[in-house]
Amino acid sequence: MLGSVKRYLEYCKRCGFCIVKCPVSQVFDGLETFSPRGRVLLLYGMSMGELKATISIAEKLFSCTLCGYCTIKCPAGLELEELFSSGRRTLNNIGLVPGEIAEISRRILESGNPYNAPLEEREFWTNYIEEAPRRRGSVALWLGCTTAYRRMDTCAAAYSLLKTLGVDVAIVEDERCCGAPLYYAGYLKEFKDFLKQAIMRVMNTGADTIVTPCPSCMRAFKEYSAKVGLNHGLKVYHLVEYLGKLYLVKPIPRFELEARVTYHDPCELGRHLGIYDEPRKLIESVRGVRFIEMNASRELANCCGGGGLYLAVDPDNSIKIAVRRLEDVPPNVEVLATACPSCEVMLSIAVERLEADIEVLDIADLLWRALSK
């Protein structure tokens, strides 16, 4: 495979514009082999037969959050995180995968989620809502593993919000991992199997639309599906995008909450999916909220450190990146909102580390709290 990207790799001018803002490069004090330019050179070396593929090189390619900051900086227009994903696949095909990545993938294959959690726990969140959730409807709420197991309140808030707004919403029976982590790990065949099952489960609800609070799941359904030839015809939205659309046709309910709020753009939702305005509009729709833009926002938002399976590969540095991201929070902010369960987890860990007086909330939680109030 690497031979086929050789020509593409030649377009890298080694200008280094990509290295400075790379979150992983930063925590390694600019060490080239942990920077995007270094990764491009490692791929180049292997494609030219000048470097032998090794597990040590694989570790460098997996030490990347796939945040895409490098891509927006590249004057040569190289789609870098895409290149790194394909590099991971190539290395995976010859058995070069870091142990942590192999382990997480094994867990998904065996238990249906990266946490090795029992399937029945996936719906524990339903204890937070008053009535049993609906299983059939025209809009399927796909929660994703991290939201389901790690952010139960967000599951409840997302479901309740949609229901309250009159959406014909259903949750997906027997939901399991969509396969996105397998895609990032380079197990393409296994990813395809998982995504195929996920699509079938969504279709069993009778829905023609998927709404999800997880940007990774969204990309799996929306982007990666086409890459593995799964053309499902379902409409796919992120929760904030869907709510934003809904607001255009429905009167906005009376959301109210007194708080100074800022917003962290998740890399996958922002740089990768281009969704920047909807989350801001939703936050600003809440009466009483004072929205303060975060330093380094929108396309230039710094990463939370959790993407691309980096948390699994190098938890210490991954958390360091999250802690650095907190430096971008303006003073006197009370709520740090986001729209990705992984970002929420990472930023919450960082807040705990720094003992910062700030609450990290998914927008769904923020809105639900404002509505219930």
Binding site: K13, I19, P75
Partner: protein, 469 residues
């Protein structure tokens, strides 16, 4: 002592984590931003402090091991390629920056980028004037060692004009404190400026004290379009003669405009040349200066002149210049960028002769640059890196250098000599009947670096492996 033992000694002196010997590290640190050169160090050393650098230069000098100081490796001349192996001394971890508002100075470690220095200055309402296009990534050490300039060079010159003092470590581990943190300093020979532009061949810069300026109250930006490069250059010369004192004065030729249109759909009229100019200062003054400048452009035959009305439009007018390098990067896998300077009166002729070369050899040459100070960047663009194409590119490269020399100019205004322009430097000195200056330079080097360990094989030392044209 064997290399392996030297590495063990380095590890025990600096700590294992600062001495990297894995194959992938040695591979990756063997490149810079030139498409031609490659090298392989025996180890990469990561310096976190001046003390680290002192230890490295003591051991390297004792055992005569080559040392190549490295910032972020954005050199466009092969200056940071370890042609003779040895140690790459990576200064990028040294990033401390301190702004001293009262004295109008900023102290930065070698690994801080120019962009980071600027960001820090901005917090206090100041800026750092030199602005290489690579500012976001170029380090203070690298920019000083290459005497980098940029667009604001039309007004502010290059790095040497903005450095007051430096901490430099020389082979043997001795620290030189050159200059002083004051705006005037006259104590004997100016050794401070000797190290500026020395491309890592004398010693290692670990810290610099730089001047900064208060941010201007307002900037006015103009875009003028011309039928021909000649007219554009006439306008540039005319502006230079008046008391307009432009901040930037940039030229883009037709091939640049076509490239940015093709890649970024800018829809710019594909005329012979475009000039982008900025003036800055107090609000009332710059508005008047902007109008006067527009009049000069019109007098010199501009087809159209636009003055940006707001920040958004300023950005738009600038898009073509900013997009010049990215555009050629996207269109061609191989781009050899030149850095010649000619007297302003010869600029039009230089560009005309470069265009003739382009037709003669059938090679795309895109020309843009800081025309306000006669410094242009012809880019030789190749679609393939096969041997024949690379030979042709090298041939054209040297012919362009010769044009600059013959017109009374120089082969490098800001990028430096590195490996790429060794022969061009020799030719330039010969043309000026000053070949013996190379001898002088060699003698000067011996004072600081008697064993010749600092960045060997570079500009004034004939290199076995460098280009033969």
């Amino acid at each position: 002592m064997e290399n392996r033992s030297v590495l063990e000694l380095l590890k025990s002196t600096l700590g294992e984590n600062k001495v990297l010997c894995s194959l992938e590290n040695l591979y990756v640190y063997g490149f810079d931003a030139t498409p031609v050169y490659r090298g392989k160090p025996m180890a990469v050393i990561r310096a976190y402090s001046t003390e680290d650098v002192m230890k490295v230069l003591t051991i390297a000098n004792d055992y005569a091991i080559p040392v190549v100081p490295r910032g972020h490796g954005t050199s466009l001349t092969g200056a940071v390629i370890p042609v003779e192996g040895g140690l790459i001394l990576d200064l990028s971890p040294m990033k401390r920056i301190e702004v001293d508002v009262e004295n109008g100075i900023v102290v930065a470690e070698a690994g801080a980028t120019i962009g980071e220095v600027n960001a820090e200055c901005r917090k206090y309402g100041f800026f750092f004037p030199p602005d290489p296009a690579s500012a976001e990534v170029a380090t203070v050490g690298g920019a000083l060692a290459t005497d980098a300039g940029g667009m604001r060079g039309a007004r502010y010159g290059t790095m040497r004009n903005w450095v007051l003092a430096m901490k430099v470590v020389v082979p043997g581990g001795r620290v030189l404190r050159l200059g002083a943190p004051v705006y005037k300093w006259r104590c004997g020979l100016n050794l401070l400026h000797l190290f500026v532009g020395s491309e890592g061949t004398l010693g290692v810069i670990t810290e610099a004290t730089l001047k900064m300026l208060p941010l201007p109250e307002k900037i006015v930006r103009l875009l003028a379009l011309f039928e021909t490069v000649d007219e554009a250059v006439t306008a540039i010369c005319s502006i230079r003669r008046r008391a307009l004192n432009p901040l930037i004065l940039e030229l883009l030729d037709e091939s640049t405009i076509k490239s940015v249109n093709e890649v970024f759909n800018l829809n710019m009229p594909e005329v012979g040349a475009a000039v982008i100019a900025d003036v800055d200062g107090p609000k009332e003054a710059v508005e008047r200066l902007g109008k006067e400048m527009a009049e000069v452009f019109e007098e010199c035959g501009a087809i159209s002149v636009r003055i940006a009305s707001d920040e958004g439009e300023m950005e738009k007018l600038y898009a073509a210049r900013r997009g010049a390098y990215p555009a050629v990067s996207r269109l061609y896998p191989i781009v050899l960028i030149e850095d010649i300077v000619v007297p302003l009166s010869k600029l039009a002729e230089a560009i005309r002769r470069i265009k003739e070369l382009s037709s003669k050899y059938g090679v795309a040459i895109v020309v843009f640059g800081h025309a306000g100070d006669g410094n242009i960047h012809p880019c030789i663009c190749m679609s393939s890196r096969d041997e024949e194409s690379m030979r042709l590119a090298e041939k054209v490269f040297y012919e362009i250098c010769r044009i600059a020399i013959e017109l009374g100019g120089t082969v490098s205004g800001e990028h430096g000599i590195g490996l790429q322009k060794v022969h061009a430097l020799v030719e330039e000195l010969k043309y000026r009947e000053s070949s013996w200056l190379l001898e002088v330079m060699r003698e000067v080097k011996k004072v600081f670096d008697p064993k010749g360990i600092m960045n060997p094989g570079k500009f004034f030392m004939r290199c076995r492996k460098c280009w033969e044209v």
